[in-house]
Symmetry: D2
Subunit: 295 residues, 4 copies
Amino acid sequence: MSLEDPVVITCAISGALANREQCPAIPYTPEEYAAEARRIVDEGGVHIHIHARTSAGVPSYEAADFTAIHDAIRAEVGDAAILNFSTGTVGVSVERRVAYLQACPPEVAALNMGSMNYAKYSARRKDFVFETVFPNPFGEIIALLKAMRELGIKPEHECFDLGHVGSLVPLLDMGLLEAPLHADFVLGVTGGVPATARNLAAMADNLPEGVDAHWGVIGISRVQWTLLAAALSLGGSVRVGLEDNLYLPDGTMARSNGELVGRARQMTLDAGRRPATVQEARALLGLRERAGAAA
Amino acid sequence: MSLEDPVVITCAISGALANREQCPAIPYTPEEYAAEARRIVDEGGVHIHIHARTSAGVPSYEAADFTAIHDAIRAEVGDAAILNFSTGTVGVSVERRVAYLQACPPEVAALNMGSMNYAKYSARRKDFVFETVFPNPFGEIIALLKAMRELGIKPEHECFDLGHVGSLVPLLDMGLLEAPLHADFVLGVTGGVPATARNLAAMADNLPEGVDAHWGVIGISRVQWTLLAAALSLGGSVRVGLEDNLYLPDGTMARSNGELVGRARQMTLDAGRRPATVQEARALLGLRERAGAAA
Amino acid sequence: MSLEDPVVITCAISGALANREQCPAIPYTPEEYAAEARRIVDEGGVHIHIHARTSAGVPSYEAADFTAIHDAIRAEVGDAAILNFSTGTVGVSVERRVAYLQACPPEVAALNMGSMNYAKYSARRKDFVFETVFPNPFGEIIALLKAMRELGIKPEHECFDLGHVGSLVPLLDMGLLEAPLHADFVLGVTGGVPATARNLAAMADNLPEGVDAHWGVIGISRVQWTLLAAALSLGGSVRVGLEDNLYLPDGTMARSNGELVGRARQMTLDAGRRPATVQEARALLGLRERAGAAA
Amino acid sequence: MSLEDPVVITCAISGALANREQCPAIPYTPEEYAAEARRIVDEGGVHIHIHARTSAGVPSYEAADFTAIHDAIRAEVGDAAILNFSTGTVGVSVERRVAYLQACPPEVAALNMGSMNYAKYSARRKDFVFETVFPNPFGEIIALLKAMRELGIKPEHECFDLGHVGSLVPLLDMGLLEAPLHADFVLGVTGGVPATARNLAAMADNLPEGVDAHWGVIGISRVQWTLLAAALSLGGSVRVGLEDNLYLPDGTMARSNGELVGRARQMTLDAGRRPATVQEARALLGLRERAGAAA
Ligand SMILES: [Zn+2]
Ligand SMILES: [Zn+2]
Ligand SMILES: [Zn+2]
Ligand SMILES: [Zn+2]
């Protein structure tokens, strides 16, 4: 990747943790997802990362919910966005996760590349708000990769530390991955790689040598905007969205995913780079072009 | 320095190389300098780097020209900006450079920290547009440092490569420097350090250990905006201005220095950081507060 | 830490995975541990990391075995080595681990700083030899830290990835740690940070700012010797020993831990550095000097 | 380059600055050069970097002296070493330097890739021992490259800072260089890149992307041995020799170049790497194999 490459602007439209009491813009129903997707596309986003919810807003791992949301978004934006399903969660079996991929195969599915402590610390309380082990053993990774390959789904390798990036190497050697790789580096989780520009560069530097790859940054909480500047200066792509961070750089709460995407788009331009069209994004991620695709 | 520090926005108001045929906004007369300084201050710039010109626009190393420009700016903006004189040039003796510092001591003066090839290459022509040796021997550096110390002028250490940063160490050991150091890293000159975010981090990492220091980035030509994103994500400060780059990120020519400063200010905010007030900038650079200082 | 600091040479005397069929030099009985400890000290090792075994060689977490081995070594080498107990294992409760620390408090105890995938991949077989989740949740880390503090034991922070180093920050903020920190960076486990010199530097760069710390490298398998060269050039300390790697750089199997330590000592000298005396090592690790200590 | 590559051990046999009063092992006559070359080859060195001297030991830029030394070495060691002539000096015209290359074209010639301050500072005296500008303008670099190309001589790019490495890019674009590039990174000169392992990695990281290249380290003065450890851990090759450093790691003066080479060879093996045979070295540097070559 280089600074000449266009920037794939991804939006994590909903997530599973926050709810509408915390941020009224979080979509619950398929119609709300579709309306947010429209705003994302209108502001320059070309890649939408989806966690499903029931229409009451409860996180869901049911194929029916994923399908309804997927189809509503596709109906609204056509081929103007790449759709991406989360597979990352604690306590939901691989089988259930594969089931919704089978029911409605998205173009891309996110894949957590390793295990880690996943915690949130409060400096004010001098204590952890929560802390858990986030287990993603190689066995599950391999099972998900095999399912994705059968279904023609491109894996997005979510890496929370250097070891997760390094874990691509044996999987490549086993023939489970196909270039170009698409990796996203998640910074800012306590237990994962600390959120600095230098560490982001280290993540990119650990991508397998001699294998074509595309990478972006996912910044959790308010350090996100600083990490966007870092990724843009390092030749990477970027993700924003209500899953990762509810606030604009000035600290006000976003009124929509589109508002966050618009800000990311402006930062991309200001850094002397260019947002990718959806066709360019599909090419960078190694996806087939879609028939009637239009930016 | 840390991401919590406010960002000192510097503007190189004029330079000596480009002229008004290339960019109509370049100031020539003291009045024009003052008007540009006003725009800079209004847009959030707090530190103005000055090369003198005669009123016809010819680069000048005469004390009278530096004084006239300095006084016109000061009359216009009061203490709302730190004023900074260039001392970097080829073929002008140290004595002449010291003479204008003595005639009108600015708060800060720029100081080139080493020798290098200084060139511009044209990929289109497959040849160098120009190439020269830019000599800044330690003897001259020491003479300028001694003059600045006598005059109460803070040196801004302009470093074009890692060796220039490393050259601070013997000068510190000789007792010629006082913390906090104020260093600017110049990237993008052929012959100097290549303009990448990783190299900018390496420059900062070479600052002397255990000595308080403030640093910023100076990006030459269009890669400047990408380097601003890098500096903001690494905890550094930034410089823009018509000396370094005539164009906005979208490729249109700037209509004033203020327009460039305004864009830098927006990028600072978008990266989750905060522009320094002039008082904060004076504190970061280790300058005395000025009597009637007002942001 | 700097290149001027002496190098603490640590030896992981036994480990729990390999057995005497694989390497006849692995000690089983307290007497054998003591004899190996003597060889370690004679060759320049000053810090011995211990996993207990029964006299039949079976890994043990019984206080009696730890105590017998500890006392045998102490009787043999006196204060000429810092003794260090492992607390890292899968499937042994925190209570049992604390029990042997209480029964016989060593000067230092190793502490795994996070969770991860822990695997071994065979490029020949194109498959994993084993793969598991190595869980070290914050809750267990905190419980072990509190026990160590009560017992006057210095924690050795074993970090397998950048996130593990970053996890020191909340623990410092909670007041659970005391400077100087003593961290060891473990490279070369599939699932953990890939074993490169650049990644070792990144580990060191992530140590908490402004807190005095000492660090060393632990390299797993044959890349160990290359990582020793890296650590020596970066200002770090080193660990060798039959737990980590059975082979000398030339590929022949070590006939004793002493042989491995002797090689590490020679590399230390060749890299222009100096092995620490046991007193220096105690000072670097923030340990009390012991009454009759002698190098 | 990778850690799997064999290590090219280069020896700078004589240099031009030190004399026999400082170190009795420095060769003056062609016979002495040949005897030292024999010791170098016997200890594992495969690449000999030569500054000529008159038989009285005075540095010489005369074709006759270069030729006599070259031929004496070749007569002694046959094809068992690559011979390399220095072209770096202050105050000797490009024409004179080209003249000795023409008279006796070596396989490789060193080429300084940029200008810099070149100084030596004494912390004891709190003053510079000497300081000068070392000018190597692009014009001279290009003239030397053209001469080398005509003569079938491989350039060794001696880079004293990141900007010197970056200067390869326009020269590549002009078609003046041929892959594989052969670069040596010189660390430890005051005015050039500070001598740290991290800076050595940064130098390697600035090699032109997508162009096959081989690199080594040249460490000036006693930090040399630490830099050897760094280069070995980063996948690079190494240079020792009486030009760079007169002392063994333990501080005793070397009794011959061979003694220094032997130490470098041992460090190479200890770091888990393998010294290159002369055939492998010629392949890595992109040289033609020589008829009767024998390691
Ligand atoms: Zn998600
Ligand atoms: Zn200037
Ligand atoms: Zn252990
Ligand atoms: Zn030389």
